[in-house]
């Protein structure tokens, strides 16, 4: 079995060779006064179509057309190549006209969302594993609701056993909202631990005002808060892993349509 490092090396080397060949071909075409822009445009459009095929392949699971992981590798490296092809085709100069501008913006949005997606798919899984218990995304809302119910049961039990409402008051004022839905979304998205730590510190500060019996209940509640923070983390991070495709894929379709329109216009008005 080929190691990831070796595979990365071979694929990167192939990518560099392909880019070099494309640059040389474009240079040759320009030098020989051939329609280099049309050639590079067709190449770029073909590359974009190939990249879009990956999504179709994922749906047609019964087709014996290479594994999805092979397609993914092709997608990643052809994606990098498409950036080079775009630069060869459009150059780095300012675009002309609204359509070209829209096309350039769409291309860069698709490319950047792809690069961001690649980063997330490589970096997030390990972070998710190390952060806490792995949970299935779709089950998180029900787990959250169950945790809230259990926390309220702890409060009710504390009132019954300690004959004091101190814990219930703290819960009502500071914690109840926390269990209502996902919290610290931005912190979790950015990977910052500041907000969750601050919240836990606030809860721990309340221990000094509680009796020994109440502290035992509060400890259970603190555990629930920690579990909920992991659920929020998992929800935000797994949500990001799912959400970026909802940006990347529609933008790709928009890009294909705009590029097709651009191609038609270029073909119609080509000298």
């Amino acid at each position: 079995m080929i190691s990831f490092a070796k595979r990365r090396f071979y694929a990167s080397a192939t990518l560099v060779v392909c880019i070099a060949l494309a640059v040389l071909a474009d240079y040759g075409l320009r030098q020989s006064l051939r329609p280099a822009a049309i050639c590079s445009g067709v190449l770029l459009f073909a590359v974009i179509l190939l990249l879009a095929c990956f999504n179709m392949r994922k749906r047609l699971t019964f087709l014996p057309t290479l594994s999805a992981s092979t397609w993914m590798q092709i997608h990643v490296y052809v994606g990098w190549f498409s950036i080079a092809a775009f630069l060869i085709h459009a150059g780095v100069h300012q675009t002309q006209g609204t359509l070209e501008l829209a096309l350039a913006i769409l291309f860069w949005l698709v490319a950047l969302s792809g690069v961001w997606g690649l980063y997330m798919t490589r970096a997030f899984p390990a972070q998710l594993r190390m952060e806490g218990e792995n949970v299935i995304f779709e089950r998180i809302p029900s787990m959250r609701a169950r945790l809230r119910r259990q926390s309220e049961e702890v409060i009710m039990e504390s009132i019954e056993k300690t004959e004091s409402t101190a814990l219930a008051d703290i819960y009502e004022k500071r914690i109840r909202d926390f269990f209502d839905g996902p919290r610290d979304i931005l912190s979790h998205a950015l990977g910052s631990r500041k907000a969750p730590h601050t919240f836990l510190a606030e809860i721990e500060d309340t221990y000094r005002y509680l009796s020994e019996d109440e502290r035992a209940f509060m400890a259970t509640l603190t555990d629930h808060v920690r579990i909920k923070q992991n659920l929020d983390y998992q929800w935000v991070r797994q949500g990001m892993l799912k959400l970026w495709l909802f940006i990347h894929i529609p933008l790709t379709y928009g890009l294909i349509l705009t590029a097709a329109a651009h191609g038609l216009i270029a073909w119609r008005f080509a000298g």
Partner: protein, 642 residues
């Protein structure tokens, strides 16, 4: 999915199914076909006249006589009437326990001419004793005649059509049982629903409908390579039942016209009870194994591959090798309990086959099951490797002992994980047939691993697996898997493409859960592992769950599954799910005999009907998943260390 039991609607179909009884019911109540025939005291009286049981009765009498002689010797006089009465009571208790075993675990079955008694490849949970008539043992039978799927190349068009027409309703079935009409219909009439075709073909035999036909088994090779047993008292399928090996031959009833073949079928629980209680019976069964299977089995091992079969078949050779069993045959039932134990307790629960420091007078060959190879580390035991079928333990020490003429102790301990059958081969056989054969010795020495393990728990084990991961695989008995689903959680983006792919190739019903225990960064997901020792197959009343002979997959025939959940309860890994089939309108099917909905067992079938192979692995874009054979450690290590 929550079950909503719907009221009777026009779309609801009523299907009568025979539900399996609880395991503690007498065996006769679990009728293989038709109405159950009770095992009565009269039947037991008849069985006790068989030579097998006469030998047990003789052993009981011998024990009593010995006890009587001992007592008389101790007392220095003859026993009085009271004392003799007590001895008689003891004898009666023993006989009663024998009778109870037979009443609870045996049943009498009549077979029509040519009816299948056992089929090659089946995982037997019972053995048969011939009472009257005769049986034919067929070594060669066309798999199609047995109703088994042959290795058929799935068609792309078929896979596409199935994908295109996948129903929106979960667990939709247009039929949930085999009708009589289906069984006798010609192939053409079944084509209306191609996806049931294979299962119907299988069902014809699985439901064991007796249709005598003189030419059924053949005018071909089959008859020429068959053996006929006519003598009553002949055992059939006993080793498969004891060791959970697949049946090695097909046996059909083969009597003269006007006669009937009658056999006693005893389930493995009874067989074990007899074997453990009475040494005469154990000797008898072990003798049968030596007679029928030992030579053939040894010839498949690396140690004796080169030895002529006549030599292996010789009495001197066969009698020297002993057959030993360790551990709990029902390990799947104690699995959860053992998982909860701490490592020390768990180790104590594993019977020691050979201990480090013991001086060997032979080597052990694993015949079935798994064993843990470990050595002591501080106050615990560090697992170094696990051994499966045909692996040899103690060969290096045996070679050293023979070379130096001084006994060399075992360096490691060998413990039974779950249930293990071993063959103990004495040192003189190793010396004569292996050590003195230079080419074989050289070959084996080059194959032998260097048992020098770094005394560091963080170091890799012998096979290159990290110790903690190795312990995890062994302790959870995932080593049983030939297609275990491992997910690298550092690469898995939780996109569920694998689950969606599985669902889309199974009529929109996923057949696994992307969930399971995680060790290091690897998850063993809840997907059928197509185990080496498939305990799920034990006790299936209709044989609906079976191993495909062609490729080793464990599959369920949906049409013959009666939804008894025996397989789901047996599976220690919780990889079989019971579902409620629905018709096209979404209504749940109900049994005609009661108001309970019909259930079906479902699990991963490894996408046997897909051109692509397992859709889950094929659909993972991040190289996060593998279906791993746990016995192929080098490939596993390659994947883990990519």
């Amino acid at each position: 999915m929550p079950l909503t039991v719907q009221p009777d609607t026009s779309g609801t179909q009523f299907i009568r199914v025979n539900r399996a009884m609880e395991g503690d019911e007498p065996f006769w109540k679990l009728a293989a076909t038709g109405l159950p025939r009770e095992t009565t005291e009269v039947d037991v009286d008849r069985l006790l006249e068989e030579r097998t049981f006469e030998m047990i009765l003789k052993e009981i009498d011998d024990r009593i006589s010995e006890k009587k002689a001992r007592l008389e010797k101790n007392k220095g006089r003859d026993l009085n009437e009271d004392e003799l009465g007590k001895l008689e009571d003891t004898r009666n208790e023993e006989v009663d326990s024998l009778r109870k075993i037979l009443l609870d675990h045996a049943r009498i079955r009549d077979f029509a001419y040519d009816e299948i008694v056992v089929r090659v490849g089946d995982y037997g949970s019972s053995a048969f004793l011939l009472l009257t008539g005769s049986v034919r043992v067929l070594q060669v039978v066309d798999p199609k005649k047995l109703g088994r799927q042959t290795s058929r190349r799935p068609s792309l068009w078929g896979a596409f059509k199935r994908w295109l027409t996948r129903p929106r309703i979960p667990e939709r079935r247009s039929r949930v049982r085999v009708n009589e009409a289906d069984l006798f219909a010609s192939a053409e009439t079944q084509v209306e629903e191609p996806r049931y075709r294979d299962e119907l073909e299988e069902s014809k035999t699985i439901v064991r409908v007796s249709r005598p036909s003189a030419s059924r088994w053949g005018d071909d090779d089959a008859l020429s390579k068959s053996t006929v047993f006519r003598q009553s008292g002949e055992w059939i399928g006993e080793m498969a039942a004891l060791s959970r090996h697949p049946r090695t031959a097909t046996v059909v009833a083969d009597h003269q016209e006007g006669e009937e073949t009658t056999l006693m079928e005893i389930r493995w629980q009874g067989l074990y009870a007899l074997r453990n209680r009475w040494s005469n019976f154990k000797r008898q069964i072990d003798y049968k194994y030596r007679e029928r299977g030992l030579a053939a089995h040894l010839q498949t091992t690396s140690l004796f591959r080169h030895v002529e079969s006549e030599e292996l078949d010789s009495g001197r050779f066969k009698n020297a090798i002993t057959f030993q069993s360790y551990g709990d045959f029902d390990w799947n039932f104690s699995y959860e309990e053992i998982r909860e134990m701490n490592p020390q307790e768990r180790l104590q629960s594993e019977p020691l086959i050979a201990g480090a420091g013991h001086y060997p007078n032979g080597v052990y060959i694993i015949r079935a099951g798994f064993a843990r190879l470990s050595h002591s580390y501080n106050k615990g035991e560090r697992t170094i490797s696990y051994l499966g079928k045909d692996k040899v333990f103690g060969l290096e020490e045996a070679f050293e002992s023979l070379a130096t003429k001084h006994p060399v102790p075992f360096r490691h301990s060998l413990r039974a994980i779950g249930y293990v059958d071993v063959l103990f081969v004495p040192l003189w056989i190793i010396d004569k047939y292996v050590f003195q054969n230079e080419s074989v010795r050289a070959e084996l020495e080059s194959e032998m691993e260097e048992f020098e393990v770094e005394n560091d728990i963080h170091a890799d084990g012998l096979e290159g697996l990290k110790t903690d991961f190795l312990e995890f695989l062994v302790e959870n008995r995932y080593i049983n898997g030939t297609e275990a689903m491992l997910i690298d959680m550092d690469r898995c983006t939780r996109c569920d493409d694998c689950v969606r792919a599985c669902a889309s190739t199974h009529d929109n019903n996923p057949r696994f859960l992307r969930h399971g225990p995680i060790e290091d960064r690897f998850m063993v997901a809840n997907a059928c592992m197509h185990c080496i020792d498939p305990v799920c197959l034990i006790g299936c009343p209709t044989g609906a769950i079976h191993r495909v002979t062609a490729d080793g997959r464990v599959v369920i025939n949906d049409l013959t599954c009666v939804g008894c959940a025996t397989c789901a309860n047996n599976c220690p890994y919780d990889n079989i799910r019971m579902v409620y089939p629905r018709d096209a309108s979404g209504s749940i099917y109900y049994g005609e005999d009661n108001t309970l909905p019909i259930q079906k067992a479902t699990k991963c079938d490894l996408c046997g009907d897909q051109v692509t192979g397992p859709a889950c692995v094929n659909a993972c874009p991040h190289d996060a998943m593998i279906r791993a054979d746990m016995m192929d450690v080098p490939s596993l290590v390659d994947w883990l260390k990519r």
